[in-house]
């Protein structure tokens, strides 16, 4: 609780400094939430997610050799929705997940010049210094985006 007596809501992510690129630290109460918040962070940085509606749905299935590789591959797949298919993400649902696989759906709508604004273009999700760790309170992930 903060000094006003309100419950403090932990931010789902924060940006950290990296000279040429954009580092993001993501939080979650469990692995699923961490992955969900990472997908949200990716699009929240790029655009105003509040203006995105649910019009299209896309199935996602991604594999990785460990949880960290899985996170990068998951974000690569989510980013391709925009870079490859021109879709903005509103929400995603993870239906199955272990350390090596993730299955779910992502929902959003096609980018439209008159309705949406791009703040910054994230060009790629890198494997550089990717990290996931568990603290007593939360799960923390760190990823660097190429911008």
């Amino acid at each position: 609780m903060n000094k006003n007596g309100d419950w403090e809501v932990l931010p789902s992510y924060r940006i950290f400094e990296h000279t040429a690129d954009l580092g993001v630290e993501i939080y979650g109460l469990n692995e699923r939430e961490l992955f969900y918040n990472a997908a949200f962070a990716l699009f929240d940085i790029m655009t105003d997610v509040n203006l995105v509606r649910v019009r299209k749905e896309k199935r996602i299935f991604v594999e990785g050799g460990d949880l960290e590789e899985l996170l990068v591959n998951f974000l690569r797949e989510i980013l391709y929705m925009y870079n490859g298919e021109g879709l903005l993400l509103k929400e995603c649902a993870i239906s199955e997940m272990d350390n090596f696989h993730i299955k779910g759906t992502a929902r959003g709508e096609p980018f439209a010049q008159e309705r949406h604004h791009m703040n910054i273009e994230i060009k790629a999700v890198t494997y550089h210094c990717v990290e996931i760790r568990k603290t007593p309170e939360t799960w923390i992930g760190r990823v660097i985006f190429d911008v």
Binding site: H18, A20, R76, Y80, I120, K123, A124
Partner: protein, 487 residues
């Protein structure tokens, strides 16, 4: 050897006035060498880039040194400004050592115009260029490629553009490798990359890419400058800085994921997953090389098309003929690439695979790969500054051939993260600050101008002076910006 520095667990010793060495420790197969002076070293030590120089030295088949140019800064995997050559038999190729923007590069054109003649028209030119050249996040071009036509672009590079009326054959003479890399095979490229490539040919993109109207500000070497077509102070020139757009990014992304997947089976620990690699001689290595060549060719076609449109925009806006304007390509260089080239190693000529990630090829005079016109003076090395500060033109020199696998610096190099640039530029109008310096800027993204503000970069003069004094390239001319369009 002189002073000893300890930087983020990395031991660095001063080798001579411009070189620093990281002696091999742990899994490093060769030493690291950094070109910098003492003042620059203090800035370099602030980030993780020295560790990245050491990390690259872990890779199999690396020859002689893991090198870094003075514009070195923290990248992912390889540092930006990193150069490394690998043995063709037991060496590797790494998509992370080339970078996402495969064949990101620069081309410079001179004109017959003097700044005095056009100084009242710079604003009109910038507005017209901004209208005619698609720029910005996810920008798409007016060229729509069929799947078959796209494959021709990937195989033929800048030659495809010339064949379709964008510029002339003469342009190819002064483009690195004639604007086409051998071995390009579209069959090695994913459907995703092909899909992204079809929509973006003839676009500038976003981030640090730009198209700039420049003026020759100072000539350091008149003989070489006139050979390059830089005749006199006040002469108008144009620089284009862009690469292979989403196509190159997708090629890098696809192959990196494949190689990362395999990297946990290696018999030594990889210091950073972004350094994932394939052996040059392996099927996967060959496939990446063929896909990378496709992206290199895409970028050359892209810059060729943008140059053609620039010529047309100048003609329309100034109501002058092509002959009057005389926009001639000085040279086109790539600064994110891996190439098979020949260098003297341990007293004999050897084919090696040189990775240049944020580094420019710098061939010395008499090198057989030079176009005839530059045979006597060496290759033009084009160093774009940050937004709105202009460029340097250097010429390749002997020492680069001997020490750095024919490589020199590529730009100013960032010193400030984009986030910090946004904070520090709050309550400032960068556009107005530039206008006060006589530079007209138009950008597609509001934030780009602040993120790319000049304070976010190293002083380009320092970077260029080091490669000049270290003998990697000779200073030829400096150009200042007067107009700029950004993504």
């Amino acid at each position: 050897m002189g002073e000893l520095f300890l930087m983020s667990d990395i031991r660095v010793e001063k080798l001579d006035e411009f070189r620093w060495i990281i002696p091999p420790t742990g899994g490093m197969r060769v030493p690291g060498i950094i070109y910098a002076d003492e003042r620059m070293m203090k800035s370099i030590e602030k980030d993780e880039s020295l560790k990245q120089v050491a990390n690259v030295a872990h890779l199999p088949g690396i020859i002689r040194h893991s090198l870094a140019m003075p514009d070195i800064h923290w990248g992912y995997g390889f540092p930006i400004g990193g150069v490394a050559a690998f043995d063709m038999e037991d060496g590797i190729i790494s998509p992370g050592g080339v970078g996402y923007d495969i064949n990101c590069g620069v081309r410079l054109m001179t004109t017959n115009l003097q700044f005095d003649e056009i100084k009242n028209r710079v604003k009109d030119l910038v507005i017209a260029l901004f209208r005619d050249i698609p720029a910005g996040v996810g920008s798409e071009g007016s060229i729509k490629l069929s799947p078959d036509e796209e494959k021709k672009v990937l195989r033929e590079g800048a030659g495809w553009a010339v064949k379709h009326g964008y510029g002339s054959l003469g342009d190819l003479m002064t483009t690195e490798d004639g604007g086409r890399m051998d071995g390009a095979d579209p069959a090695c490229v994913s459907e995703r990359a092909l899909e992204r490539g079809r929509r973006q040919l003839g676009t500038l993109g976003s981030g640090n890419h730009f198209l700039e109207i420049e003026v020759v500000d100072k000539i350091f070497d008149r003989k070489i400058a006139s050979t390059f077509g830089l005749m006199v102070e006040g002469q108008v020139a144009v620089a284009i800085h862009t690469g292979s757009r989403g196509f190159g990014h997708q090629v890098c992304d696809d192959y990196l994921a494949r190689m990362v997947k395999r990297s946990n089976k290696l018999d030594f620990p990889l210091p950073d997953r972004q350094l994932a690699f394939a052996y040059i001689a392996s099927d996967e290595g060959k496939e990446y090389m063929s896909a990378m060549a496709c992206a290199a060719n895409y970028a050359w076609a892209n810059r060729q098309i943008l140059m053609h449109w620039t010529r047309q925009t100048f003609e329309k806006t100034l109501q002058m003929s092509p002959r009057e304007i005389g926009m001639r390509l000085v040279y086109d260089v790539c600064h994110n690439i891996a190439k098979i080239e020949e260098f003297p190693v341990a007293g004999r000529k050897r084919k090696v695979c040189v990775h240049r990630k944020g580094a420019t090829r710098a061939l010395p005079p008499q090198h057989p790969a030079l176009p005839d016109v530059y045979r006597e003076v060496g290759q033009p090395v084009l160093i774009p500054g940050d937004m709105g500060t202009g460029s340097y033109v250097l010429a390749g020199a002997e020492k680069a051939f001997e020490e750095t696998f024919g490589s020199s610096c590529h730009g100013a190099g960032r010193v400030m993260s984009r986030g910090r640039a946004m904070k520090e530029s709050r309550n400032r109008s960068i556009v107005k600050e530039m206008a006060d310096k006589g530079i007209v800027i138009m950008a597609a993204g509001k934030k780009t101008i602040r993120e790319e503000m000049p304070d976010a970069y190293k002083n380009m003069e320092d970077v260029v002076n080091i490669v000049h004094r270290a003998g990697l390239s000779r200073k030829v001319a400096r150009l200042r910006a007067v107009g700029c369009i950004k993504g």
